[in-house]
Every structure is written in structure tokens, then in C-alpha cells.
């Protein structure tokens, strides 16, 4: 086989890699393998070792299958220069030499292996022959052993049968001996009080004696036994009736009596009767704890006591009964259920009486723990006696208590709210005594709000104990659903917020004139409180509640928006009432001042009347008060000369109905026609327009009411010239100071205008004061 060209010639094979000898070695080996494969007709070598692009059928390919030396040589000779030919020749010779030595090594190695394999086979042949001999010997020995064994069996056969028979006789004799000894044995047992053993013996012998009673000897034994058994039964009953021993011994007695074949029905009645006696004693001791004379233990102790005493006893009775009288079937079970129902009912009555004593206490955790114990203890008998419905009844009691607690907490929250209000009243009253104006309303409001909120949170935390995971009844449907949604959310929280709104609203409804009037500041504070609730607190509280009590109930709940609307309405009513109260206070002042004065014979005005100053002072005080809690609000753009208006007498008045169909032309009343027409275009003033939640709106309302009163009072009086002038002065003064409080100063102007106009109409001699003089007086005063 010719070596591939190693040179950089065009026909160079995959062997000549430029990387050097260490990369060349595996390459070459692979080539050799490839050739072998090719020789053995394995096609994969053809494709694997070949660089892509070279034609497998190329006869000039040194490593190809179709290599033709002649063609190759021809090609070399034809194509290559001499030097290259020489090179390829040397190269080829070197390769051939290398291949030859490779081949030699392979042949030598294989020969060695072949020799050692031949040696091994020879040795194996030898060993096998030895083994065959030993196997033959083993077979013969086994045959001998089998033979011996058969012979021994044959000899022993006879003796074995005899032994079996003898053993049977021995057993029989033992039984007979037991029978004969039975009466004395029984007597001894009875005497020793080993009733269990006696009953066991009797039970074992009974069937045999029954069977062989025709034999006189056996009959005598049977008679004896019966007498003894009767005595035994007698004694057992005696012991059972005495009942001194605990339930387990009694159960044992009953078991023995049953084994003696006593009538089960009678026994079970008697058993229950005894159990009743014991349980009733437990109940009595519980009742004694309830009693008023000894200091009642705390509720946890009580339920513990009841749980271990009564409920434990009931459990024992029930399980013993079920074990003993299982054969009684449903009738027996029913008897037990009725028994448990009756006593359970009495137990529940006692527990409820005890729980009722907890009504007023504030400690929920103790109560919840007690209820938890109570409920947990009743799960065992509940499972034993599903028919008696004890667990359900217990759950019901727990639910009832939970409901009552909710009611109690609602009551507590209400009381807390009322307490806050009392505190506020006192705080409002106190500084006034000290002569200090404007107590920290904002502070009071914050106090009230935070105090209520903390009360609510405390209540939530307290009732949350009922739903704690570790409490045994928290997974009952009531506590997962209704308790959370209807109880806590609706009953407690929504209920409280509603009642708060109602309480607040009641301050509007109550006849404020009858003693103990609500201080206006309280109205204002409550109004702001309700408004705050509307904007934030309600949704906060409800979110808190919903988070703490993951409501799984689908029953409808009051939406936040409804509650907010109620709170807003309350706030609005309170603020409206505040406006009304304050307005009426100022009105009263104005009315008295107009009514008590003799306007006909009054002197020429030199001063603003003191009452007007008082009105302005009070209004300012109200402004400050409202400003503590409510935002400023918006007012219409002010004209700079608003304080510079002076009232002219004829600025407006209305004497003529403008729809007058039967207008009398003779009436000489057209002086005011112009101002009347002017009035037509100004808006009618709605004195009690709805109040908005800001300071300006509140003050506007109060001032409107006050000025309207002034107007009405003026219309009821008759004025002299100076009386009219005094009104002029007063009104100007009011205008000077009141415009800044209201939303629309035009309103104050209109109303005061009308007051002066009305006074002028009520004056037979209307000579108004010079506006400049009015101004001077007002500025002075």
C-alpha cells in the first residue's frame, strides 16, 4: 500500500497536517484503521476519513478503494517536476517502512495471546474431570441416608400413636378434675373476691355441664355450681348497687353479670341509674360553685371543673356502656342518647348560668379560653354520642355567648363615645370659666377621634379572639361566616358607626331651647368628626375589619359608600344645625335690640350701638371657632371698595307687586319703581340655603339668618328721623365688618340695603344721614 503524499501537493491526503508530529500520530492510526475497515468492506470508513470534495472513485487517491498504482504513477510522472518526484519517492519509502514494522508488531502480539489461551483451555479440561468423580460419590451417600431414615420412621410409628392417645386421656382427665373441683374452686374464688376468675371458670364449665347433665355425677356438680353462681351473682349485684367504687369497677361488675347471663336490659337500666347518681353529684358540685355564697371561681376554672368532672364522667359512662351493651343494638344506643341528652341539658343550663355572670366582664381572653375548653371537652362525648347532639348544643352555646359579647362590645363602644362627648363638654365648659377663649377644638377633635378609634381597635382585637386558629370552635361555619360578616362587621362596626351618627344627629333634634343646650362648639366638632369619618375613617375601619376577619360569607353587607353617605348627611345636618343655633343666638340679640328701643324719640346718632359691636365680636369669635375645624372655602372676588358703601335710604325698596294685575294708577308710588326693577334682576336670597363644609359657607349662613332677623324686626317698628339714621349707622357698621366673612359680599350688602330701605319705609319723616357722616361715625366707633 502506497503512503499518502505528505507534501503540500494538490493530491495530499488528510494525513499531512501542518500541526506537527504529536497531531500526526493519531491521524495516521486512524488512517490505518480506515484501511482495515475498507478491507473488511465496512463502508463507514469511506465516508468518515475522507475530506469532503475528494471523489471516492478517484484512482489517483492513495487511500481510496479504487486506487490504481499505474494511473497514479502516470499522473505523478506527468505532472510533477523531478525534485518533487524524488521527494515523494523518499516519502513513500519511509511510509512503507513504517507500515511494515507496524504489521510485524501486530502479528507478534496476536500470536502471544493465542498461545496463552491454548494453555488455559488445557488446564480447565483437567479440573473438570476431578469434579465429576466427587459428584458421583455424593449421590451414593445420599441414597444410603434416605434408606436409613425410612427404616427409623417405620420403627417409631407404633410408639407415636400410643403417645398421642395417652396425651388425649390426660387432657380429658384434667378437664374432669377441673369439673370435680369446680364447686370448691368457685367457692374459694367467691370467698377471695376473685369474681372475674369465678365467672371465667363458670363460663368454661357451663356448656359441658349442660351437655352431660344426664349423668348423675355431673348433675350434682352442676347443681352445686348453680347455687354458687347464684350467690356470686348476688354478691356482684350487691357490689354494683353499693356503687361506692368508681365507674371502671362498676363496668367490670356489669361485664361479669352479663357473662353470668343476667338479663341485659335490666342491667343497662341499672347501670344508667348508677351513672346518673354519680353525674348528678358532679352537677350538684358545679351548681354549688355557681351559688352566691362561696366566691365563685373564675369561669375558666369552672369550665375546667365541669369538663373534667361531668364531661369526663359522661365519657366514661358512654364508652363503658357502649362496650358492655353493644349487643343491645339501636334500642340501647337510643337509651344512652336520651340519658346523655337529659344530663347534658342540665350541664348546659349550669354552664349558661355561669357564662351569664360573665356578661359584664371586660376580659374576653379568659372567656374565650373557658369557652374553648368547654367546647373542646365536649368533642369527645360528641363523637361518642352523635345522637345526643351534645357537640351541636355546645356550639350553639358558644355562638350565643359570642353574640352576646358582640352586643356587649357595641354597648361598650357606645358608652365610650358618650364618654368622649361628656369629656368634650367638660373641656368646652372649663376654659370658659377660666376666661380663656377658644379651647383647642382641633385638639379635642383629635382626642375624640383617636380615643374612639382605639376603642374600636380594642373591641376588634377582643372579638378577634373568637376566631383565633387555636380555638376549637373557630372553624365552625358560624365563626367563619356569619360571626365575621353579620356579627362583627355589620353588628359591631357598622352598628356602632350608625349609632354614632344617630347620637350625633340627636343633638339636632333635641329641643335646644330646653335647658342643657348642646354647646355649639360640640355641634361643630361632631360635624367635623362625621365628615372625617366620611372621608377616611369609615373606609379605614372597614378595611381593617375585613382584613382581620376574612369574610367568607356571601351575605350582603352594608357598602362603605352607604355608610359614608350617612355620615356625610349627619355632618351636614349638624353643621346646618350649628348655623341655625348660632344664627338664632345673634338673631336674638338683634331682635331684642330692635324691639326694646323707642325708635321714635331716639336722639341723633353719635355712635354705633354697642349691640352691633357685640354682633361683630361674636361673629368674629364664631369665625375663629369654625376656622379651627373647617377649611376657609371660596368666596367671590371682592371689590376693593366693599367697606366703603354707605347706605342710601332709597337704594331699594319694594312697595309694589310687579305682577299686580289690578294696579291702581292713583297710587303715587313710582319713586321706587327704578330700584324695584333693579331688584328684579338680583337673585332672591334664600336664607336657609344648604351649608357647605367650609368656613365661609357656615359664616354666610349665620350672617344671612341674623340679617334677615334684623330686617324682619325693623319692619315691625316705626322709626323717627333719628331712628332711621341710627339704623343707617348700624347697618354701615355691620357692612364694614361682616363682608369679610361671607362668600358673596353682595349678599350682605343686599340684606343691609333692604334693612335700611325698610326702616325708611317705616319712618314718617325719612331724612337720611349724610353718607360721609355715617362713615365718620362708623370709623370712630
Amino acid at each position: 500500500m502506497a503512503a499518502g503524499a505528505a507534501g503540500p501537493g494538490p493530491g495530499s491526503g488528510p494525513g499531512d497536517s501542518p500541526e506537527g508530529p504529536e497531531a500526526e500520530a493519531p491521524e495516521r492510526r486512524r488512517k490505518a484503521h480506515g484501511m482495515l475497515k475498507l478491507y473488511y468492506g465496512l463502508s463507514e470508513g469511506e465516508t468518515a476519513g475522507r475530506p469532503p470534495g475528494s471523489d471516492p472513485l478517484d484512482p489517483t487517491d492513495l487511500n481510496g478503494a479504487h486506487f490504481d498504482p499505474e494511473v497514479y504513477l502516470d499522473k505523478l510522472r506527468r505532472e510533477c517536476p523531478l525534485a518533487q518526484l524524488m521527494d515523494s519517492e523518499t516519502d513513500m519509502v519511509r511510509q512503507i517502512r513504517a507500515l511494515d514494522s507496524d504489521m510485524q508488531t501486530l502479528v507478534y502480539e496476536n500470536y502471544n495471546k493465542f498461545i496463552s489461551a491454548t494453555d488455559t483451555i488445557r488446564k480447565m479440561k483437567n479440573d473438570f474431570r476431578k469434579m465429576e468423580d466427587e459428584m458421583d460419590r455424593l449421590a451414593t451417600n445420599m441414597a444410603v441416608i434416605t434408606d436409613f431414615s425410612a427404616r427409623i420412621s417405620a420403627t417409631l410409628q407404633d410408639r407415636h400413636e400410643r403417645i398421642t392417645k395417652l396425651a388425649g386421656v390426660h387432657a380429658l382427665l384434667r378437664k374432669l378434675q377441673f369439673l370435680f373441683e369446680l364447686p370448691s374452686c368457685l367457692t374459694k374464688c367467691v370467698e377471695l373476691g376473685a369474681y372475674g376468675q369465678a365467672v371465667r371458670y363458670q363460663g368454661r364449665a357451663r356448656a359441658v355441664l349442660q351437655q352431660y347433665q344426664h349423668l348423675p355425677s355431673f348433675r350434682a356438680i352442676q347443681d352445686d355450681c348453680q347455687v354458687i353462681t347464684a350467690r356470686l351473682a348476688q354478691q356482684l349485684r350487691q357490689r354494683f348497687r353499693e356503687g361506692g367504687s368508681g365507674a371502671p369497677e362498676q363496668a367490670e361488675c356489669v361485664e361479669l353479670l352479663l357473662a353470668l347471663g343476667e338479663p341485659a336490659e335490666e342491667l343497662c337500666a341499672e347501670f344508667l341509674e348508677h351513672a346518673r347518681g354519680r353525674l348528678e353529684a358532679e352537677l350538684r358540685s358545679l351548681e354549688a360553685e355557681l351559688g352566691p355564697s362561696p366566691p365563685a371561681p373564675d369561669v375558666l376554672e369552672f369550665t375546667d371543673h365541669g369538663g373534667s368532672g361531668f364531661v369526663g364522667g359522661l365519657c366514661q359512662v358512654a364508652s363503658a356502656y357502649q362496650e358492655l351493651f353493644a349487643a343491645q343494638g339501636p334500642a340501647g344506643a337510643e337509651k344512652l342518647a336520651a340519658f346523655a341528652r337529659e344530663l347534658g341539658g342540665r350541664y348546659f343550663a349550669l354552664v349558661e348560668r355561669r357564662l351569664a355572670q360573665e356578661q359584664g366582664s371586660g376580659d374576653n381572653s379568659l372567656l374565650v379560653r373557658a369557652l374553648d375548653r368547654f367546647h373542646r371537652r365536649l368533642r369527645a362525648p360528641g363523637a361518642l354520642l352523635a345522637a345526643a347532639g351534645l357537640a351541636e348544643a355546645a356550639t350553639e352555646i358558644v355562638e350565643r355567648v359570642a353574640r352576646e359579647r358582640l352586643g356587649h362590645h357595641l354597648q361598650g363602644l357606645r358608652a365610650a363615645f358618650l364618654g368622649c362627648l361628656t369629656d368634650v363638654r367638660q373641656a368646652l365648659a372649663a376654659p370658659r370659666l377660666a376666661g380663656k377663649e377658644g379651647p383647642g377644638l382641633a385638639e379635642l377633635l383629635a382626642n375624640v377621634a383617636s380615643s374612639i378609634l382605639s376603642h374600636i381597635k380594642a373591641s376588634l382585637a377582643a372579638v378577634h379572639l373568637f376566631t383565633a386558629k387555636e380555638v376549637s370552635f373557630s372553624n365552625k361555619p358560624y365563626f367563619r361566616g356569619e360571626f365575621c360578616s353579620q356579627g362583627v362587621r355589620e353588628g359591631l362596626i357598622v352598628g356602632f358607626i350608625r349609632s354614632m351618627c344617630q347620637t350625633a344627629q340627636s343633638f339636632c333634634d333635641s329641643p335646644g331651647e330646653k335647658g342643657g343646650a348642646t354647646p355649639p362648639a360640640l355641634l361643630l366638632l361632631l360635624s367635623r368628626l362625621c365628615l372625617d369619618y366620611e372621608t377616611a375613617t369609615i373606609s379605614y375601619i372597614l378595611t381593617l375589619t375585613d382584613e382581620q376577619f376574612l369574610v367568607q360569607d356571601q351575605s350582603p353587607v352594608t357598602p362603605v359608600s352607604t355608610l359614608c353617605a350617612e355620615a356625610r348627611e349627619t355632618a351636614r345636618r349638624l353643621l346646618t344645625h350649628y348655623v341655625k343655633v348660632q344664627g338664632l343666638v345673634i338673631s336674638q340679640m338683634l331682635r331684642k335690640s330692635v324691639e326694646t328701643r323707642d325708635w321714635l324719640s331716639t336722639l341723633e346718632p353719635r355712635n354705633v350701638r354697642a349691640v352691633m359691636k357685640r354682633v361683630v365680636e361674636d361673629t368674629t369669635a364664631i369665625d375663629v371657632q369654625v376656622g379651627l375645624l373647617y377649611e376657609e372655602g371660596v368666596r367671590k372676588a371682592q371689590s376693593s371698595d366693599s367697606s366703603k358703601r354707605t347706605f342710601s335710604v332709597y337704594s331699594s325698596s319694594r312697595q309694589q307687586g310687579r305682577y299686580a294685575p289690578s294696579y291702581t294708577p292713583s297710587a303715587p308710588m313710582d319713586t321706587n319703581l327704578l330700584s324695584n326693577i333693579q331688584k328684579l334682576f338680583s337673585e332672591r336670597i334664600d336664607v336657609f340655603s344648604p351649608v357647605e363644609f367650609n368656613k365661609v359657607s357656615v359664616l354666610t349662613g349665620i350672617i344671612k339668618i341674623s340679617l334677615k332677623t334684623l330686617l324682619e324686626c325693623v319692619r315691625l317698628r316705626t322709626f323717627g328721623r333719628f331712628g332711621l339714621q341710627q339704623v343707617q349707622v348700624d347697618c354701615h357698621f355691620l357692612q364694614l365688618y361682616l363682608w369679610r366673612f361671607v362668600a358673596d359680599e353682595e349678599l350682605v350688602h343686599l340684606l343691609l340695603d333692604e334693612v335700611v330701605a325698610s326702616a325708611a319705609l317705616r319712618c314718617p319723616d325719612p331724612v337720611p344721614m349724610e353718607p360721609s357722616v355715617v362713615e365718620v361715625i362708623c370709623e370712630r366707633g
Binding site: E513, R591, Q655, P661, P764
Partner: protein, 331 residues
């Protein structure tokens, strides 16, 4: 012309006195007294023709002064009483007098209203209910069921029962009582109960409502602090014996049972600002034709479903109870 729209009549003076003609039960007729300090005051007799929705009026001159209160005799259609301001130099004194209107204006003597509309007639003075010692008269109320001879007037803190004799030509003070107490107590209003055979009168003074027995002139009940502020007016329910309505400056209308006066039967707070004359059964509908303060409203004596209201600017509005509501109450 069955129309619920109110009918409006305008006077050229300011007015606050309004009364139905009590003795008249056929025609719908109201009397309005004007208030003017400078001009002669008038009493307008307003006839409302229900079928044609037309108002006829007659004007009587009332020259003695501006009218603060007016009431009519329940027995004689021609007789009325007014309380009026008598101007004097330094004081205003309110007097009361009983008047007779001219014969031709009495109902029944039908003359063409056009003739009389411009020419004002004068009232004929029958007698003064004056006793200057008693002060200003606030109100005159007639015995509602009697023969028109008994009149009560309220003057300052006195309640005076007058006997009108010689066809009202002379008023004799029959009996009187007075309020005692600190401060200036003044009656503001009074009404004679149509029940109890005319023996009860209710009066208002400051915040208190009092009931009087006219036979002994003694107080029979007293509602202290009936309202938070001044009580302006009161009225009896003609259909329910013990029911009394009052209204005050606290913008409330309260209904009282005179047998138990500690608590009002019902309180309404719908009024904006001073209520002046109580309607009989709560707010039924709101009427908004007035531009100025309404000081008086009164039911017609002829048609129980019709009432007039009078505002200070001299506008009289005759309103009907909405028909739907009327039938709802009736049926």
C-alpha cells in the same frame, strides 16, 4: 276653568293683615289691611270667583292708621275689627276698633265692581276697643261660634274680654286678666278656640303659649318655652278638639295637644325664617310665588281647599290645594 295655578292680586301698599270673611260661607272673600305711614290706609275686600278664576275687589278707606291686624265678625258679614297704629308725636300706640263696612259692599248687594273699584268707600266706626290704660293692642279675636258680641283683645300684657252691645255700637269691658312677671311681657297673638263652646282662648307671649278660660278669665294651661324664640302666631285645628299649632322665630311649627303640653305632638322645621301663620296640617306643598316675606296666610271660610297668603310687598296669592292631594285626603 279648574286650574290649580294660584291667582295673584297686587296691592299698592305694603300689607300684613289678612283675614277671611268669617261670616261668609258662600263666596270666597278675604280682607286685607294695608300698612302705610304716609298715605291713607285701605282695606281691600277681595272676592275670588272660583269658577272664572277672577278676582273682584273693593277698597275701603281706613284713615285712622296703618293696619297691623284685622279680623271679622263670625255673625255679621259687615262687621270687622282692626288693630291700627295711631301716630302721635313721640309714641306709636296701637288701637283697636270695630267697624262696619258700607251696606252696598256687603255681599248680596250686587253692583258692578267696576264702578266702585276706583272710588274708595269709608268705614263706619262702631266703637273703640280702647282702654289706653292697657297699652297697645296686638290682636283682636272674635268668639268663633257666638253671635258676634264677644271679642277678646290683647293689649300689652292684658287680655281683655269685651261685650259688644247695641249692635256693636258700644263695647263694654266684661272681664280682663293680665300677665305678671319680670320684664316686659307682651302678648303677640291670640286665637279663640272653636271648640269647648267657645270658652277657651290661646295666647302667645314671648316663648310661652297660654290657654285661658273666658268664663273665669283664668289660665288653664301654659306651655313654657313652647319655642326657642318668640312665638309669632298660633291657631286651632277646627277638626280636632285639642289640637293647637304654634309657630315661632325658631322657624319651627309645633303641634300641641292641649291636654298634655309637656311635649309637642309634632314639630316641623321646614320654614325658612320666621313662620307667621300656621297652616293646619303640616307642609303639603310649597308655594313659591312670593318675592318678599309672607306674613299672613289664611284659609277661606267658604272653600276649605283654598287659602290666601299675603306678603309684605302687598301681593296676595290665592292658592288651591292641588286636586290630586285633595282627592287623596277626601277619599
Amino acid at each position: 276653568m279648574e286650574d290649580d295655578a294660584p291667582v295673584i292680586y297686587g296691592l299698592e301698599f305694603q300689607a300684613r293683615a289678612l283675614t277671611p270673611q268669617t261670616a261668609e260661607t258662600d263666596a270666597i272673600r278675604f280682607l286685607v289691611g294695608t300698612q302705610s305711614l304716609k298715605y291713607d290706609n285701605q282695606i281691600h275686600i277681595i272676592d275670588f270667583d272660583d269658577e272664572n278664576n277672577i278676582i273682584n275687589k273693593n277698597v275701603l278707606l281706613h284713615q285712622v292708621g296703618e293696619i297691623w291686624h284685622i279680623s271679622t265678625s263670625p255673625a255679621d258679614r259687615g262687621v270687622l275689627a282692626t288693630c291700627y297704629n295711631k301716630p302721635s308725636d313721640s309714641k306709636v300706640l296701637t288701637c283697636a276698633a270695630v267697624w262696619r263696612m258700607p251696606k252696598e259692599l256687603e255681599p248680596g248687594s250686587h253692583e258692578s265692581p267696576d264702578d266702585s273699584s276706583s272710588t274708595a268707600h269709608s268705614l263706619e266706626l262702631l266703637c273703640h276697643l280702647d282702654d289706653t290704660a292697657h297699652g297697645s293692642t296686638a290682636c283682636v279675636t272674635w268668639e268663633p261660634t257666638g253671635d258676634g258680641k264677644k271679642v277678646i283683645s290683647l293689649a300689652d300684657n292684658h287680655i281683655l274680654l269685651w261685650d259688644l252691645q247695641e249692635s256693636s255700637g258700644q263695647a263694654v269691658l266684661a272681664s280682663s286678666a293680665s300677665l305678671e312677671g319680670k320684664g316686659q311681657l307682651k302678648f303677640t297673638s291670640g286665637r279663640w278656640s272653636p271648640h269647648h263652646a267657645g270658652t277657651q282662648v290661646a295666647t302667645a307671649s314671648d316663648t310661652t303659649v297660654r290657654g285661658w278660660d273666658t268664663r273665669s278669665m283664668s289660665q288653664i294651661y301654659c306651655i313654657e318655652n313652647a319655642h326657642g324664640q318668640l312665638v309669632r302666631d298660633l291657631d286651632f285645628n277646627p277638626n280636632k278638639q285639642y289640637y293647637l299649632a304654634s309657630c315661632g322665630d325658631d322657624c319651627k311649627v309645633k303641634f300641641w295637644d292641649t291636654r298634655n303640653v309637656t311635649e309637642p305632638v309634632k314639630t316641623l322645621e321646614e320654614h325658612s325664617h320666621w313662620s307667621q301663620e300656621p297652616p293646619r296640617d303640616g307642609v303639603i306643598a310649597t308655594y313659591e310665588e312670593h318675592e318678599d316675606s309672607v306674613y299672613a296666610a289664611d284659609w277661606s271660610s267658604a272653600d276649605p281647599w283654598l287659602f290666601a297668603s299675603l306678603s309684605y310687598d302687598g301681593r296676595l296669592v290665592i292658592n288651591r290645594v292641588p286636586r290630586a292631594l285633595k282627592y287623596h285626603i277626601l277619599l
